[in-house]
Symmetry: C2
Subunit: 406 residues, 2 copies
Amino acid sequence: MARIVVKFGGTSVADIERIKSVAARVKRIVDQGNEVAVVVSAMAGATNQLVQWVREAATLHDAREYDVVVASGEQVTAGLVAIALQEAGVDARSWLGWQIPVRTDGAHGKARIAGIDGDALIARMARGQVPVVAGFQGIGPEGRVTTLGRGGSDTSAVALAAAVRADRCDIYTDVDGVYTTDPRIVAKARKLNKITYEEMLELASVGAKVLQTRSVEIAMNHGVRVQVLSSFTDEPGTLVVDEGEIVEQEVVSGIAYSRDEAKITLIKVADRPGVAAAIFGPLADANVNVDMIVQNVSEDGRATDLTFTVSKADYDRAVQILEARRASLGFDRLVGDKNVAKISVIGVGMRSHAGIALRMFTALAEKGINIQVISTSEIKVSVLVAEEYTELAVRALHTAYGLDAA
Amino acid sequence: MARIVVKFGGTSVADIERIKSVAARVKRIVDQGNEVAVVVSAMAGATNQLVQWVREAATLHDAREYDVVVASGEQVTAGLVAIALQEAGVDARSWLGWQIPVRTDGAHGKARIAGIDGDALIARMARGQVPVVAGFQGIGPEGRVTTLGRGGSDTSAVALAAAVRADRCDIYTDVDGVYTTDPRIVAKARKLNKITYEEMLELASVGAKVLQTRSVEIAMNHGVRVQVLSSFTDEPGTLVVDEGEIVEQEVVSGIAYSRDEAKITLIKVADRPGVAAAIFGPLADANVNVDMIVQNVSEDGRATDLTFTVSKADYDRAVQILEARRASLGFDRLVGDKNVAKISVIGVGMRSHAGIALRMFTALAEKGINIQVISTSEIKVSVLVAEEYTELAVRALHTAYGLDAA
């Protein structure tokens, strides 16, 4: 017997037939003797329709009213899933964000959960009732409806699992787990049985968007064991857990890629204290996230080239901001390139293994792929390559690290 | 300057374009120096879709969950109308039932309003903000979402008008007022400028469903002046007010009809004390509403014929209940007839005028229409006729009471 929070995404509750399947699945988990709480997203497409209405009503709109409109989608599915569970013979009731309550900060449209009182739900679960919680929503400091941002139902589920001290949080989705890389690129990609929070964060942040990043952070901070699995099969999925739970750690767990970055190089930047702050300060002020940064030691001690990446969506704005400050920053010229891709090798095991990066560079060199920028962290080595090499690079690395399925 | 609650029905907020028209209209009322609160229904069709989902999920469903699902429709429009108002330059914010709060009893699906705290809204209106209230919904004694039953947004609006001590409650709808009778039947039907609460109640209960009956009762009890008007024109509508406000009261205000009744006659019912209770008790227990009842004095003091009407929807159930009790009730046989219509002449003025009923009987006799059953109240005379005479009877009476437009 365990206490489990199960979360179903929009495709899993897209119509009444699927909602009945969800109810049948939850009933099986309950019948196995588990205490279960359910977290639901809006029906697939519902949120998009609501967002479109808001945008048609006003291009610039009050985020508080946006939240009122958009949160209705999860309210609908919470009620419908509760009804379907009751129809299947399971004691169930819906809970809206303000009823539990799921307290959040006041950042409407992208609120962060401040706290969830799990006591009422724990008491209900203990006497066999299944709470069906509307994901994605909470209540702000002024008693108004808030939402957590797109994909926020994952965060709701993991935070709820922490609040009710669940043994596990099962995220049902339209993929059956986390893979060593994108199966659309590498046919021999393998599903991972287990992965650490840290690896999951790196995989999510570089493009494998199975879970919302924030939900993984909360899981890591509260030690919530998360399972990603398919709502269309009965196969076990991928467990996202603490490093200590993984006995035989693979050196490299996966290969990730992102086509979402653009490269900017400032030629002959003055090499003096404070220049980095002068460059990145205005970008941060404009909410432009900078990812990889490379600066070489300058040859003459006076000027150097500085290269960094931003998301493609922010590229034009970043260029505009920098060009406007060319004189004060003192660079010679700006060279930009949107035709780049970031390829990353990820694994907590690489901390204790030398030669991980070397194997990467060798494998890419053998395929004639030029590395433009390199960036490393404790559990990740990323390189920037020309975008056209993306698939080739991913496949070469997947093979080089022994990840191919037999 | 006045304080006005304005309510918009589903067709008035059916899409974003109409929502913008609603915002423009509210802005004009605000610009005239009025304090305004808005009450909205769900977008036309939205509630039907939600109800259909609930029914597909389970034929018999938890009314508390039904309310969670169905109340989402008004939540969406409250947010969208607030956004459209802001876009039009009007300070506005949405209010959900639980936020005000609109406290109701726990009769989910058909809850009655127990009280509305108007202070917060009065304060906001005083400083120029327009509250946009989700109609049809409230919060029950256990903190769960309740709904007031179909058409409940009218009730929300009138109750809110009472709570904020509004000078008037304007109900915008797809008709432009209350007519002397159904204009589809009588081309010369006239729009009434004013009508009393009592007349409106009779008109509503006999088929002219412009306002939900409950909303008129609340308006009458709290002295809320209600105006019914079209959201597609700028014409004044019909004011529903206290009798004292109508200086020149017409004797008869309107002719109503209902094809929704069925007639049941019990032949040779034992004429002894308690028999009426024995007949109507079981019907009441089965929630069958009985409308007109006629019983003649029996000729021999031993048996009489009893005739009454029920709604057509309840007819089969009523017959079943009575037949099952034939022996104990001691009637000879049951004769039923679904091909009947109820025609009513309504007017508070008839209290002080003799001959109103006589004129009705004369006018019908002149057209050769046989009267099956007669029932009278202080402000209404109703007769049951064969259904095929409905239009003929309505037109004859409309002319007979001088209601035809010039």
